[in-house]
């Protein structure tokens, strides 16, 4: 008989304590989602497309200058991807409903509806929406490596992280076939087969993906961790991406500013 679809609420936990800033997630995302090649001038123009990026911060520079001890300088890495906000600022500003919230807790971008007004990117506090200012081109030999399960976005439309929805659809098909909820282990970077590209590429398990509706799931448990916080939570966007604060025994003073 036909099984009803299992209601999901996809979410991610980013444990900043583990991130080494290796950029494997960035490259994996680039490869999985047919993201055009970013050249240096695209970065200078602020038109580079990176669905996930590593933000780098330096801490303790002032103390290092004062004391003359360079070992006081610390690097902090924060992976930033679309936060899939429950109360997303990008959604109400779209005049054509090209971005909306679906019932799986995801913020969805519908490419064929988008007319490229860029209001959503202006209203996004996380800077994770990217506009295709150019028609994407690859070297001739790379056209065969494009992922057939992901649309190649043309010039003039907005794009952003989808939580690798093509893989989640695969999960849902498997669930319907086997008639049971897929455990969070399937999204694990080490053993799983279905996690988003960034999660599977992460060598330190910084990124953990799963279903927040599953009370026994790994993500739902980690989200309740006391280190957990949501980025810019005072804005009230209620992101589905939860960050776990870095544990630093020798935190510098400037870190608490």
């Amino acid at each position: 008989m036909i099984t009803p679809r299992i209601p999901h609420k996809w979410g991610m936990v980013v444990d900043i304590d583990r991130c080494t800033g290796c950029q494997a997630c960035v490259i994996a995302c680039q490869a999985e989602n047919n993201i055009p090649i970013n050249t240096e001038d695209r970065y200078i123009q602020r038109r580079a497309i990176e669905w996930i990026r590593i933000e780098r911060y330096w801490e303790g520079v002032e103390e290092a200058v004062k004391t003359g001890d360079p070992s006081l300088v610390k690097a902090r890495f924060i992976p930033v991807l679309c936060q899939h906000c429950e109360n997303a600022p990008c959604e109400p500003v779209c005049p054509v409903y090209a971005t909306y919230h679906n019932n799986e807790g995801m913020n969805v971008q519908v490419y064929n509806r988008c007319i490229g007004t860029r209001y959503c990117a202006n209203n996004c506090p996380y800077q994770v929406r990217f506009f295709n200012f150019f028609q994407p081109v690859w070297p001739e030999s790379l056209y065969n490596q494009l992922n057939p399960h992901v649309t190649v976005r043309t010039r003039g439309i907005m794009e952003k992280c989808t939580f690798c929805i093509q893989r989640l659809r695969k999960v849902e098909r498997k669930e319907v076939k086997e008639q049971k909820r897929i455990s969070d282990a399937e999204f694990d970077s080490a053993s799983g087969m279905y996690g988003p590209a960034c999660v599977r590429a992460c060598p330190t398990d910084t990124l953990v993906f799963g279903d927040l509706n599953d009370p026994n799931g790994r993500v739902a448990k980690m989200a309740k961790d006391e280190r957990g916080y949501q980025m810019f939570d005072r804005l009230g966007t209620e992101p589905n991406v939860i960050y776990l604060k870095k544990v630093d025994l020798h935190a510098s003073e400037s870190a608490h500013e």
Partner: protein, 196 residues
């Protein structure tokens, strides 16, 4: 006696302009009206792609109806994957190494096999790139709902391919067509089900 009014001089350019406008009006009316009517009585077949002539005249009837080969024997990944897949030439040669080798069409096939190049079949059913149709999900649904074999589901969208000498499209496969069916079967109509 009053002098007759001098004959009005007719500007020949004015006449020509009037004549030209009359002609143009008639021509435009004749051209546009049938076009408008044509749109009003728009035939659904015009949405379909023209039935292509394939590089090898592959007859589905003799394979399906006469020999009774299952759809899944050639379109192997249809129940497990997004794409139905076209069999490689080697799979055709599996039988046609021995079967009907004197036919000119099979000799064409044998040439493809010996040259080790794929047959460039012309695609009949195609949805735009921003639409992701997954065969597997639909076959799972219909086989479970109707309790039938996977090969009996194909005709829902593709028509009776087994009786088509040349494969042609029988449903519009536009979004309205998809959404109608999704609503009837209580399938999700969220945009991100197909558009991602």
């Amino acid at each position: 006696m009053q002098e007759p009014a001098p004959r009005k001089k007719v500007n020949w350019m004015m006449r020509a302009a009037v004549a030209l406008s009359v002609v143009l009006t008639v021509v435009i009316t004749l051209a546009v009206v049938p076009k408008i009517l044509g749109h009003y009585f728009w035939s659904i077949e015009q949405w379909y792609r023209v039935t292509p002539v394939q590089p090898i005249a592959f007859p589905h009837p003799s394979h399906v109806q006469v020999d009774g080969i299952d759809c899944l024997f050639c379109h192997r990944s249809v129940a497990t994957d997004a794409m139905a897949s076209i069999p490689p030439v080697q799979q055709c040669m599996f039988c046609h190494k021995l079967v009907k080798t004197d036919s000119p069409e099979i000799q064409k096939l044998a040439k493809y096999a010996s040259d080790n190049v794929p047959v460039e079949w012309i695609r009949v059913h195609r949805v735009p790139d921003h639409v992701h149709f997954v065969h597997e999900a639909h076959i799972t649904f219909f086989t479970r709902r109707d309790n039938v074999a996977p090969s009996q589901v194909c005709a829902t969208c593709h028509g009776d391919v087994g009786s088509m000498q040349q494969v042609k499209q029988v449903r519009s496969l536009r979004m309205g067509d998809c959404v109608d069916c999704h609503r009837q079967n209580n399938a999700p109509t969220d945009c991100a089900v197909c558009h991602y």
